[in-house]
């Protein structure tokens, strides 16, 4: 019963924050709505027993990526945008058609053995989503993709450092202060 309540709170929050990302006029509010979406989604991951993924979502996404995005927004001095125009019937029609179409697709491809339970373990293994089992899989079964992702990230870091370097000054102006 507590799980159902938690699910509905997280799901409704994720929905409204997600809409807020698009609808907010102030870009800072948009970024903060995205943070709210991430926190609500982390709650949903916890319900699915994917605890490692939930905390990593908060640490990496909300804690690092969004901080950098908010830095960029605050330094750009953006003006308030015009609100998203939702007043034409055509836009409403397309939006609602897409929304109900997606729900219908999910219904078509659902797993018939799952009812409306809000927390369904995806396997029988109780330690499935824990950091231990994720680490074991990453370092045994998925070792090569893991290493390739590490190489990709290193290349990205090197590229960022090269792009952000200042040009060398023409003459040295003395010992560095």
């Amino acid at each position: 019963m507590a799980a159902t309540l938690f699910f509905w709170v997280c799901a409704v929050a994720a929905f409204f924050f997600g809409v807020g990302v698009i609808v907010a006029r102030n870009p800072m509010y948009s970024a903060l709505s995205l943070i709210g979406t991430f926190v609500a989604t982390a709650g949903l991951f916890l319900l699915l027993h994917a605890e490692f993924l939930a905390w990593i979502l908060i640490i990496v996404y909300t804690g690092a990526v969004m901080v950098l995005i908010i830095f960029v927004i605050s330094l750009l001095n953006l003006q308030r945008e015009d609100p998203v125009r939702l007043d034409t019937p055509r836009r409403w029609g397309i939006g609602l058609a897409l929304f109900f179409g997606l729900i219908f697709l999910v219904y078509l491809f659902r797993d018939p053995s799952v009812g409306f339970e809000v927390t369904v373990p995806l396997t029988d293994n109780p330690a499935w989503g824990s950091p231990t089992s994720v680490a074991r899989d990453l370092l045994t079964r998925y070792l090569i993709p893991f290493e390739l992702a590490a190489v990709l990230l290193t290349a990205a870091v090197i590229g960022a450092v090269v792009l952000a370097r200042k040009a060398e000054p023409e003459e040295k102006s003395g010992p560095e202060g």
């Binding site: 800072m28 903060l32 943070i35 605890e51 490692f52 905390w55 990593i56 908060i58 640490i59 909300t62 804690g63 690092a64 901080v67 908010i70 830095f71 605050s74 330094l75 824990s130 950091p131």
Partner: protein, 347 residues
């Protein structure tokens, strides 16, 4: 145990822990002012009550009666939310700290003196610390004041730079204990202080000690305490991100900073100093309740925080960032390598 019983014990623990920590937060400023006074060869507050003990009460009353200012161009929602978020993230960390061993209430077992024994407790702590950056940033941005914004940018950049070292420095404990669960980490440190993870692995004490000091230094930076308090130094950017805050909103930032100090000390105690275990595993030391040991260790670390504040000058901002990225981060990575080698050779 029925669900109602579990919920009841949780509420009891919340009341006990939050009351104790709020009391500590109320008296930590007194302790700090007294200690800094004595470090500087003068008395701290001594007029208000015996030994100045009522000084925090006087400060609280003063702050309550101050005028509550809202700058005209401030973003109202974020201006109100920022101090609440600061205090909330500071208090959310308290939920997973194991303050004491299992205790009984009216003859029935109530579990550890720990509100929530989350499976990935260590990741929870790191995650909540990374959420704490937003409160400072939103405070500076919503004040619509260039000094606040600069202070907030500096402070947030400092905080998430040192979060890397914070996270990496606990990896030695993680490798040694083998679990993210804080109660498991505590349980693996029993039977004497030589088993505490500050000395891990036993034959090569260096990785644990290095990890402990890296954690403490990053903790100084995370809580914006000297020598890393440039963002809120009075001689610099007025008062940094809380320039435009007055009265109780300022008091909330103030409380959040002291509560963060207590939380960082508690986490360091849990991970490195054996939490509520007594240093010597025989009577009469084991008959002293676990939470008293925990409190004593946290007190020692808080004394260290205040001692460092009274002693060291503050870093300049570029020195601060260089220190965090060029010195501490490679040191933390090297420490992980050394700890891994040490643990492997030791078995």
């Amino acid at each position: 145990m029925s669900a109602l019983e579990i919920a009841g014990y949780a509420v009891l623990k919340i009341i006990l822990i939050v009351t104790a920590v709020m009391g500590a937060v109320a008296f930590l400023p007194w302790l700090e002012r007294k200690l800094i006074g004595h470090f500087q060869q003068r008395f701290g507050p001594y007029r208000v009550g015996p030994f100045g003990l009522l000084q925090p009460l006087a400060d609280a009353i003063k702050l309550l009666f101050k005028e509550d200012i809202l700058p005209r161009q401030a973003d109202r929602v974020l201006y109100f939310t920022a101090p609440c978020l600061a205090l909330a993230t500071a208090m959310m960390n308290l939920a997973v700290i194991p303050f004491g061993p299992a205790f009984t209430v009216l003859g029935r077992d109530a579990g550890n003196l720990q509100i929530a024994d989350v499976n990935a407790g260590l990741l929870y702590v790191i995650g909540i610390s990374s959420l704490g950056v937003y409160s400072i940033f939103l405070a500076g941005w919503s004040s619509s004041n260039k000094y606040s914004l600069l202070g907030a940018l500096r402070s947030s950049a400092q905080m998430f730079s040192y979060e890397l070292t914070l996270g990496l420095s606990v990896v030695t404990v993680l490798m040694a204990a083998g679990t993210f669960q804080l109660s498991g980490i505590v349980a693996s440190q029993e039977n004497g202080f030589w088993n505490w993870w500050v000395f891990s692995p036993q034959w090569l004490v260096l990785p644990g000690v290095t990890g402990f000091f890296l954690f403490l230094i990053s903790g100084f930076a995370e809580t914006n305490r000297l020598p890393f308090d440039l963002p809120e130094a009075e001689t610099e950017l007025v008062a940094g991100y809380h320039t435009e805050y007055s009265s109780m909103k300022f008091a909330m930032f103030f409380m959040a900073e002291y509560m963060n100090m207590i939380v960082v000390s508690s986490i360091a105690t849990t991970l490195f100093l054996g939490a509520w275990h007594s240093p010597l595993p025989f009577a009469p030391f084991t008959s002293i309740p676990g939470w008293i040991w925990f409190g004593a260790k946290v007190f020692v670390l808080l004394f260290l925080f205040i001692w460092v504040r009274a002693t060291l000058p503050r870093f300049r901002y570029d020195q601060l960032m260089k220190f965090g990225w060029n010195i501490l981060l490679p040191l933390a990575l090297g420490n992980i390598f050394l700890a891994a080698v040490g643990l492997m050779v030791g078995t």
